[in-house]
């Protein structure tokens, strides 16, 4: 009886194995024909309320002008993350033509999966990307020298502060002293001591790979004058500048000016934290709830705002290889990222189109909305996540080291960054 059961189990496994062996890679499609094909396409976009509203009007405008090439838009299906859903869709072969929420950190992985279309494959692809975005476009090039994403919009990360909390602590609410690390720490201590808020600042202390984009990375970009985490296949963060940034955050955690605990909700809106480190997308959520001001992220020596870099927090548009009507998709991509549509996105969401000169392109908007002007200025000095193989593994390794040393103080931050740098160098060297 036992032998029969064993035989059956082995047969089942063998069958499964055979099926798997037969189900590997199969033949390719006709990419050249698809590049010029036109017809109906589907696009996905973020579930952010403002972006959904923008997407609806953009699609309506396109469909009115092109009834024979109908575009259907939908929000990215729910999952643990957009990247996970997109990865699954690529594997299943049912990804849409365009996704207006492609994270630059995932592009190398999607590219490896064979899920993306190089925009260079269109006659005007490369020139369109570079003329629209300017020299910042270089950061979005893949290691093979091609563009697999259109840099679409950025949310340059800055320090938001609660004017009421600062006023309670007797801190200047127009030009608060937040430029150098020393000033930032002194202001933090003051606002917490005066009970302006329980914590000075509350970056998410959790261990997801992307959380370092909202604590370490903006300050690292500022401190180094615009360096990426990895450059020319080598990690950059274990430098003297990187260690200064880590030591700064360590002080905030050690002095309980930042919390080690996960917060459910928005600590800045709730008044639990006096400051937040975030991009302009959040302004809509602060409306009527917090009286805020914003300044560039601090540097050790207090660089002037005009020289301070930060993390872009960009979301881009990519074309997916499952797309049959790529000719239409390319035209829709250009239409959706045109000067007119970018202006509507800016108007509706306050997010900065990744254009060469946002402030100069939309002067009326910034005249009407002076609060957003500093974000437009900052958008000219942003740093993207490096477009390298194993991007997410690199960020997770970095986060693990940062979390252990900086947030929880179980290792010297400098030693932890040195250890992470060795692993990251190995990962970055893999093709």
């Amino acid at each position: 009886m036992k032998r029969k059961k064993l035989t059956a189990a082995l047969l089942a496994l063998g069958l499964a194995g055979t099926t798997v062996a037969c189900g590997g890679s199969d033949g390719g499609g006709d990419a050249d024909a698809a590049a010029t094909a036109r017809g109906e396409i589907t696009i996905w976009m973020s579930n952010n309320k403002e972006e959904v509203a923008w997407g609806k009007q953009m699609v309506a405008a396109w469909n009115t002008a092109h009834p024979d090439q109908k575009v259907t838009a939908q929000e990215i299906p729910t999952g643990k993350s957009s990247e996970e859903v997109i990865g699954a869709a690529i594997t299943a072969g049912n990804a849409p033509c365009l996704i207006f929420n492609t994270s630059p950190a995932s592009v190398s992985q999607f590219q490896k999966q064979g899920g993306l279309v190089a925009l260079d494959s269109f006659a005007d692809g490369k020139s369109y990307v570079e003329s629209r975005t300017g020299k910042s476009a270089e950061q979005y090039k893949s290691t093979d020298g091609k563009y697999y994403q259109l840099p679409w919009k950025a949310n340059p990360v800055m320090i938001f502060y609660n004017k009421l909390a600062f006023a309670k602590a007797g801190i200047d609410t127009v030009k608060p002293p937040l430029s150098t690390y020393d000033e930032f720490l002194a202001t933090s201590r003051k606002v917490v001591a005066a009970k302006g808020a329980k914590f000075a600042i509350y970056p998410a202390p959790s261990n997801e790979f992307f959380q370092s984009w909202f604590d370490f990375y903006p300050l690292f970009a500022a401190e180094t004058g615009g360096k990426q985490l990895v450059a020319d296949g080598k990690s950059q963060f274990a430098s003297e500048e990187g260690k200064k940034v880590a030591a700064f955050w360590r002080t905030l955690y050690a002095d309980k000016l930042a919390s080690q605990e996960k917060y459910t909700g928005d600590s800045f809106v709730d008044g639990t934290a006096a400051m937040a480190i975030v991009g302009p997308w959040a302004i809509a959520t602060y409306k009527g709830k917090v009286e805020w001001g914003a300044v560039p992220v601090p540097t050790s020596a207090g660089k002037p705002a005009a020289e301070t870099y930060t993390f872009s927090d960009a979301k881009n548009v990519a074309m997916y290889s499952a797309c049959k009507n790529r000719g239409t998709a390319w035209d829709v991509l250009k239409f959706a990222s045109s000067k007119e549509q970018d202006g509507k996105l800016l108007e509706g969401s306050g997010q900065m189109p990744l254009r060469a000169d946002v402030a100069g392109t939309y002067p009326e908007y910034f005249a009407k909305n002076p609060d957003y002007k500093q974000f437009a200025d900052q958008a000219a000095r942003t740093v993207e996540v490096p477009n390298v193989p194993n991007s997410i593994t690199i960020w997770q390794n970095f986060r693990d080291a940062y979390s252990k040393s900086v947030i929880f103080g179980q290792e010297d931050p400098g030693a932890a960054l040195d250890g992470a740098a060795q692993k990251v160098d190995q990962l970055a060297a893999q093709s």
Partner: protein, 320 residues
Amino acid sequence: MSQQRVLSPRRVERAGGQPPPTRRRGLLGGVFGKHPIGSAFVTPYLVFLAAIFAYPLGFAVYMSFHDYFFTAPGAIVDRPFVGFDNYAAVLSDPAVRRAFGNVGIFLLINVPLTVGLSLVLAFALNSAIRWRTFFRVSYYVPYVAASVAVVGVWLFLFNADGLVNRVLGPLAPDPSWLVNSKLAMPTIAIYVTWKQLGFFILLYLAALQNVSKDLYEAASMDGAGRLKSFWNVTVPGVRPATTLVVLLATVTGANLFTEPYLLTGGGGPDGASASPVLIMYQRGIEQGNPDVGSAIGVLLVIGVLLLALIERRFVGREGR
């Protein structure tokens, strides 16, 4: 009254002098055996098992021995056989080793606590107590409630300013429960015990219906008190259910994911509450290395099978 001799069917056939009816089993009979109708009823479930369990398991084993990553249909990639390389990578990864250690701590706390509490509570709820239905429902509600919502409540209870620390006052741990590397996993183990208790109580309640009241009366006549009756009648009487509870708690516990993902922000602090399934998700799905994720999965399956065999040997020995 004469006593008739009962013969076995085979002996009846012989006794009747008739040879057994010989039926030629056709192709259908060859495939489906003596009971084709029964086989037909079982087949859908077998197909389900093959598609949902056997195929993915076989696929996972295949992936774990290859340099495998998910690709778009039509993408032509090389997926060479790499032998035990993925297993070597996994076993030399401190984060994976720690995750297996963490889940060991989890099981050491969760399984005995689940068995003890659910048995005692089921015994109490089986007795004629007031508000019995209310208590039964109360214990079952966390089991059916959405994890995300319940995790929110526990974050509120166990954060530094939470209700638990307020009650404890100066005795509250610092760092607090969920960011304390020594307490994070035990807190998760207690949370999971509480959340799943209703289901296991239900199993024990069903088992308690099969324990004869005569046994309690006999024990009482022999002078056994409530405690002795519980120990000498109830515990042995529900031993098959205990075996089931231990196995189910072990299997579900070894697959721990939601709690470290949501309650401790991705296995924090510093990986102290990371579970193998969480690491599997990070490596396999987030980081695009399903070959490494599969190797972790296969090791986990082997570990759980071994553990289940040991548990069955010790817990279920008198139930066989």
